[in-house]
């Protein structure tokens, strides 16, 4: 099976289940709205009773900064509030991940909110355990990263111009992304095995490691290629967003719609990753 076939299969699977992205977008948006409500209302109430005068002696962005500086005493409680939101969201997201993988990998491509949530609750504990078991792998990831980044740091430390500093910093970033992708691949694969083969977590890890020991580089390459395409599309999206003027209502509306479409694209991209990984795994698993 060629690269194109994996991508096609993954894409078909993702698009036929696009409703999942819609559910996720909706839930994430609700959480985000709750998270921004305190700061949003603070800014609104400080800026001329919901609207803004035309006579400004500063650019609008500085007015916002000024409001935040003037109310800096709310930062500490707001940070606590945000941390709480993120922590609660993390549990919620593990639940949602169950729904995402469950619906993405199910043969039945009928998607509705009840079977999405049912999958979430079905896989919640297994996914939570898979994440906990992943923590030692994260430790190995950081260790490996430090080890591989050491020569770059030495090169940067001995530099007599800025170039080695800039190049090594960006190479380190690239190294970080490549390594993280490799480790993330493992977690995704474990979850695919949990869902498709109804395995428990430990056996799923064993099977995933065994699979990766045979197919790691081609699987990683596929993942990175997909990642590159998604990153380029994101970059293009941001560049297009830059061109839209936010001085008029139409421009602002287009910006908001584009921003939300961008989020939907990222969610669909996540589905695409799962679809492609599944397609690759299902074709190659017999060769383990």
């Amino acid at each position: 099976m060629s690269l194109g076939n994996y991508l096609e299969a993954g894409l078909n699977r993702a698009l036929s289940r696009f409703k999942i992205a819609l559910y996720l977008w909706l839930i994430i948006s609700v959480v985000a709205l709750i998270a921004i409500t305190p700061i949003g209302s603070l800014v609104r109430s400080n800026l001329g009773h919901l609207t803004l005068s035309q006579d400004l002696s500063m650019p609008f962005e500085l007015n916002i900064v000024e409001v935040l500086i003037s109310n800096q005493n709310i930062f500490a409680p707001y940070t606590v509030f945000l941390i709480a939101i993120v922590l609660i969201s993390m549990l919620l997201f593990i639940f949602l991940k169950g729904g995402l993988f469950g619906r993405m990998l199910n043969q039945d491509n009928r998607i509705n909110i009840s079977n999405f949530l049912a999958d979430g609750s079905r896989y919640f504990w297994k996914f939570l355990l898979s994440l906990i078991i992943f923590l030692p792998f994260l430790f190995i990831f950081f260790l490996l990263f430090r080890l591989l980044a050491a020569p770059l740091e030495a090169w940067s430390d001995g530099a007599v111009t800025e170039w080695p500093v800039i190049i090594s910093a960006n190479l380190k970033l690239l190294l970080f992304v490549l390594l993280l992708a490799a480790f993330k691949l493992l977690l995704d694969l474990v979850r695919i095995i949990i869902v498709t083969e109804s395995k428990k977590v430990w056996p799923a890890y064993c099977l995933a490691i065994k699979f990766l020991s045979r197919h790691f580089f081609s699987f990683w390459g596929l993942y990175l290629l997909l990642g590159l395409v998604v990153a380029l599309i994101c970059l293009g999206w941001l560049l297009v967003g830059q061109q839209i003027s936010s001085n008029h209502l139409a421009g602002i509306l287009i910006s908001i719609i584009l921003a939300q479409a961008f989020l939907m694209f990222r969610l669909l991209a996540r589905q695409l990753f799962i679809g492609v990984e599944f397609s690759y795994y299902s074709k190659r698993k017999d060769k383990v």
């Binding site: 005068s53 969201s89 939300q260």
Partner: protein
Amino acid sequence: MDGRIVLKKKPDTLKAVLLMFWFICLVFLKSWAGQAEDKPLRYDLEVELLPEVRMIQARGTIVWSNLSQDYVPDIQLHLYWNAFKNELSTMAKEARRETMYKRYQVRKDDWGYLKITSLTTVDGYDLMPTAAFISPDEPPNPDDQTVLKVDLPEPLAPGQSIILKLQFQAKVPQNGIRVGCYKDGFFISQWFPKPGVYEEGKGWNCHQYHLNSEFFADFADFKVRITVPQNLVVGACGEEIERIDDPVTGKTTYTFEQQDIHDFAWTASPRFIKIERWFRAEDQVSPEEYQTIAELLELTPEEIKLPDVRMILLIEKQHQHQAERHFKALMAAIKYYGLWYGPYPYRTITMVDPPFRTGSGGMEYPTLFTAGTSVILDKKVLSPEQVIVHEFGHNYWYGLVANNEFEEAWLDEGINTYSTAKVLEAAYGPSCLPVRFNGLPLNWLLKTPAIYDWQLGRLISGPVAKLDPIVKESWKFYNSVSYSLNVYYRAATCLQTLERYLGEKSWAKIMRTYHMRYRFKHPTIEDFIQVVKEVSAKDLNWFFKEFFFKAKDFDYAIGAVETRIKPEKFLGIFDDLPTKHSPQTKTNQDETTEKAGEKIYQTSVTLRRYGQARLGPEVTIKLKVEFEDGSLEWREWDGQSRWVRFNFEKPVKMRQAVLDPEAIWLVDTNLSNNYYALKGSREKISGLTGDFLWLMQSLLLSVFNLL
């Protein structure tokens, strides 16, 4: 290598006599217009750099004259590099106390020092036995070695001079502040024993080296011979008058001279490219510009004519492609500072792109300054330009008008920050805020607002208004952040406010008068206040008291706005007798344009004084109220009470109210509460809500993807 240096021996007595003769000639033959009148110092120094061991070895003479009416029993010298000698120096202790961020961290081999190995009078009297380190500032630090007190054989009578012969060696601190070296690149400042400033009746003004302070010294004539390995390119204060290559030793000796400066710094690096250009006043300033500025200052165009200046750029090879950008900024600075405050009086200016990792960027010295840039820059971000204009500007504020930076740092930093913003606005317009990641500019990807320097300055300095006053000894500020935000930005914001309050013309004359009157002198804030009072013919003591001498915030605001329909009938018992408070009686503040059968809207605007600082006598703040039919109402408030309420009755609703609509009181720490609109554009707020939401969604989505 043992670090010793062999200097050519010269007949000391003859040299001393010649030196004395030259000094007397300089004191009595003041042939150069605009030079320092009472110059108590002359330096004649020879220094050799030994890069392999990070050492400098030096010798020479310092002539100090007692221009006071006191008998002076001792001399006090700054030995600044001893601040980097150990962890017990005042500066190191202050750095450790800093909790917000650490500016000063050194490793074991990074320490530096300055050691006088010999100090005698010209006739050979050894002064070292009486030499002792002192710490004049509170709290005393007996471990600090940055001020050396030396007793003279006998008190120096008024008008007498003393010639000090000295030899010293110093190790260049690897991670110093404003000085440093990295591999074979060196930036050498504060490297020689420098006498403090003797103040008549008060004694020596010679402070320790503090974390949050710069310098104070007397005007002097310098002659400095610098010997370095031949592969190093050298730049220094003043003019290079001689260069001798020694093929035997492989070393080169440069001689630099400059009169009427109060410090001397130099730099050496093999990676410098030296480029020279001329600032030709004729090409840079048009007759119309001369005419405009002359009218503003009430001078003739001839009186403000600028001289040509030789500009020397020492730029690292990696930044060579930015040379023209550097020169353009420097020419703008020479032009505007010259036109507004007075002509640049020296023949050269040396601009140094500091050697990589020497920690010496963005620093000023007379006739020389360091800039600072990156290999990749965004055109929309005025990053090197801001530094170049600011550091050149210090030649005016610090270099020529040489206030005490230990005690009243705002007099140079605040005035110069204000001036920098004005030059950048005139020469470039607004600049985008920089966005960088891993050394790469990202402004092409992420849009940032174009703002003026002063707008950002007033914004960030607001929070420290209640922490410290602007006028305070540098080392007594709460921390480095409070020091820099108060001294640089809050002071500049106060000056911006004064300019708007007094008017452009009056302010321009104030600044020029202050500069020209105190060129080559050491003014204090009292001198500044006096000039403001004299030129503006206004007593602004209250302004300086509220904003410079006290830690108070200034925040006037629109506290509340209420609009309601006026009732057509009032309930209750009304007899026919007129009363003082009868509802039919109109107060002075009420405005009624009532017509029969028309709805009348009662609008009340409550102004609040949230800050502690208040307006001075006979000063008011304006309120502009705009109604839906386009009509305007103006009110003035003296701002003394905590609040005031203005009432209006109109057949239309209010559209918006703006306090201080002419934006005079920029010193207001929160301008956002100066606006109130009942109706208006919601686009910005909607866009902002969309941005907040998107940021939070993106954050949550990233967390989701990682789990």
